[in-house]
């Protein structure tokens, strides 16, 4: 399995097959873990980092259930490949940009990945399509058990799993749900909704905020604290908040349909038209219009495209993906041309790319 093969595929979590797929893109959980017998990554010298990396890789590769895993040593990879893994959300940007011995183990179905020598020795990550945190928790708990039976984790009786940053100590767990909330943005309700949620222990961040000409309308909701609650509690907190946000977004969508369907339809169709006909297009512009088209598909205003195709295009039109798919390095200007032609290939002719 090579990265090139991964590039043309589509991760499980992007399929739009999970619950509430029109609004929830994905559910993710990550666990931060450290080996007891080494200093944390930032404080480890080159020799220690390489020992950590070797040790963890060895253990990961000894797990029979994981024989389909791809282990990548990042210090040997070129920048586009690292960038590709970030766009794919299989690892963090920090991981791509840092230096020294580090790696990432990837499940080729993209259900999970394990980063080695990120901020913590191990960052285990599980992603699911739609709102499905319970599955994500069960999966990551099993993965964690498999690793724990082979590695000595740094664990403190009172403080739990020890992490490089005190904001992660305890469970070491971050639960997050990625939401697509275009109608709340259009109706300018979004701030009000999130402000009403502020007293609950969740963090919300707009990845691309309102008021901008180019935006994606994506928001991430995650737990703020990691210590003093069980993992199940943390999952439950996020699980309680998200349906309320979904309900607000549905109400806002209904409002738009009832009050101004023609305007909305016009807006969505223009966005679709630009994506299908532009000859060069930047990634921000693409994000902006894809967001509108995504809402249009979910509201039945555009019927010829599958939601999976749209989800995939958000990822495949990013710089490293375009270059991987094309098989060569491209300048910004060339990427904009390549991106436009890629979009036409997948959206034109009534969305020929409907098939999986």
């Amino acid at each position: 399995m090579k990265l090139e093969e991964l590039a043309s595929k589509c991760g499980e979590w992007l399929r739009g097959s999970g619950p509430e797929p029109d609004i929830v893109i994905s559910s993710r959980i990550r666990l931060a873990r450290n080996l007891a017998e080494f200093p944390f990554v930032r404080r480890a010298n080159a020799d220690e980092r390489s020992q950590i990396s070797k040790k963890v890789r060895g253990k990961i590769e000894s797990i029979k259930e994981w024989d389909h895993l791809l282990y990548l040593e990042l210090q040997n990879m070129d920048e586009i490949d690292r960038q590709f893994l970030v766009e794919r959300q299989l690892m963090s940007r920090e991981m791509a940009d840092s230096e020294g011995d580090r790696g990432v183990a990837i499940d080729t179905e993209e259900r999970f990945s394990v980063m080695v020598n990120e901020e913590d020795h191990l960052r285990i990550q599980v992603m699911c399509s739609g709102l499905d945190l319970n599955t994500a928790w069960e999966t990551i708990n099993t993965i964690d058990d498999l690793l724990e039976s082979r590695l000595n984790y740094a664990f403190h009786d009172n403080l739990g799993y020890l992490t490089a940053c005190p904001t992660n100590v305890g469970t070491g767990m971050r639960v997050s749900v990625m939401l697509h909330l275009p109608a709340l943005v259009i109706t300018r309700e979004i701030e009000k909704v999130f402000r009403s949620l502020q007293k609950i222990n969740v963090a919300v961040r707009g990845l691309y905020g309102e008021g901008s000409q180019y935006m994606g309308d994506f928001y991430q909701v995650s737990n703020q604290i990691t210590l003093g609650r069980t993992e199940q509690d943390l999952v439950a907190t996020v699980n309680e908040v998200v349906p309320r946000i979904i309900e607000y977004e549905r109400k806002a969508r209904n409002f738009l349909i009832n009050e101004s369907e023609q305007d909305l339809h016009d807006d969505v169709s223009r966005a679709y038209g630009i994506l299908c006909t532009a000859k060069k297009i930047s990634s921000e512009e693409t994000l902006h219009y894809l967001s509108k088209v995504r809402m249009g598909v979910n509201l039945g205003l555009i019927r010829s495209i599958a939601i999976e195709t749209i989800n995939k295009l958000f990822v495949h039109t990013q710089p490293a993906h375009l270059q991987k798919l094309r098989g060569q390095q491209l300048s910004v200007a060339d990427r904009n041309i390549e991106r436009a032609s890629y979009l036409q290939g997948h959206l034109g002719h009534g969305g020929q790319a409907n098939s999986p």
């Binding site: 971050r174 995650s222 210590l227």
Partner: protein
């Protein structure tokens, strides 16, 4: 609109919705937006951490106390409290023990709790004292190698191997033939708390 950090046009407009003062908009070019987003993903609320820490220390310490605290050093990884304060990251698991009194208020501030209630490893992974001793010995070994003291390096390598193979009941950090002058017990249900008395282990 221009990027807040350079002359390029701002194409990313990021809204921070969780600032206590209300939503804050940040306008950035693509390049600076990438830096910004990677520094401050929802995954690592480090900026908030630095703020909390600074405020807390100001409230509770005089300048003199603060200067003294900043010099406090972990005997296992060598990080000073000042370094932690600047970087927002600890150096090793033992820091949670040797900086305990300064970290506890911080943890309470961040999490509203100071006791773990979640999952625990199924098997005991050996005593924290032994684990920290291994970290120290590995570094001593590297020092010995760079001083070309290969005999010492060889001894240390064997001792580390024994420790790693789980013979911690026989080789505890207190009795091991080494430069460590600590007298802590090797293993106990009290976890690494135990090691507090051993805080003087080398400098």
């Amino acid at each position: 609109m221009k990027c807040q950090q350079c002359e390029k046009p701002a194409t990313f407009h990021i809204t921070e919705l969780t600032e206590p003062t209300g939503p804050v908009m940040v306008h950035l070019c693509e390049e600076h937006a990438r830096v910004y987003l990677s520094q401050e993903s929802a995954d690592s609320p480090t900026n908030a951490l630095a703020g909390i820490l600074a405020k807390q220390l100001k409230l509770e310490q005089t300048a003199e106390q603060l200067a003294k605290l900043d010099k406090k050093t972990c005997p296992v990884c060598g990080i000073t409290f000042a370094e932690f304060r600047q970087e927002g990251r600890l150096g090793c698991g033992y820091d949670y023990v040797c900086f305990e009194e300064d970290l506890t208020p911080l943890l309470l501030n961040i999490h509203g709790a100071k006791t773990h209630r979640g999952k625990r490893p199924r098997r005991a992974s050996g005593s924290p004292a032994r684990q920290h001793r291994i970290i120290q010995m590995r570094r001593e070994m590297q020092d010995a190698i760079s001083n070309e003291d290969y005999e010492r390096a060889g001894e240390l390598r064997d001792q580390i191997r024994d420790l790693e193979n789980g013979q911690d009941e026989t080789v505890d950090p207190g009795s091991a033939r080494s430069s460590v002058g600590s007298s802590e017990a090797s293993d106990s249900s009290a976890g690494i708390q135990e090691e507090k008395n051993g805080g003087e282990i080398e400098g």
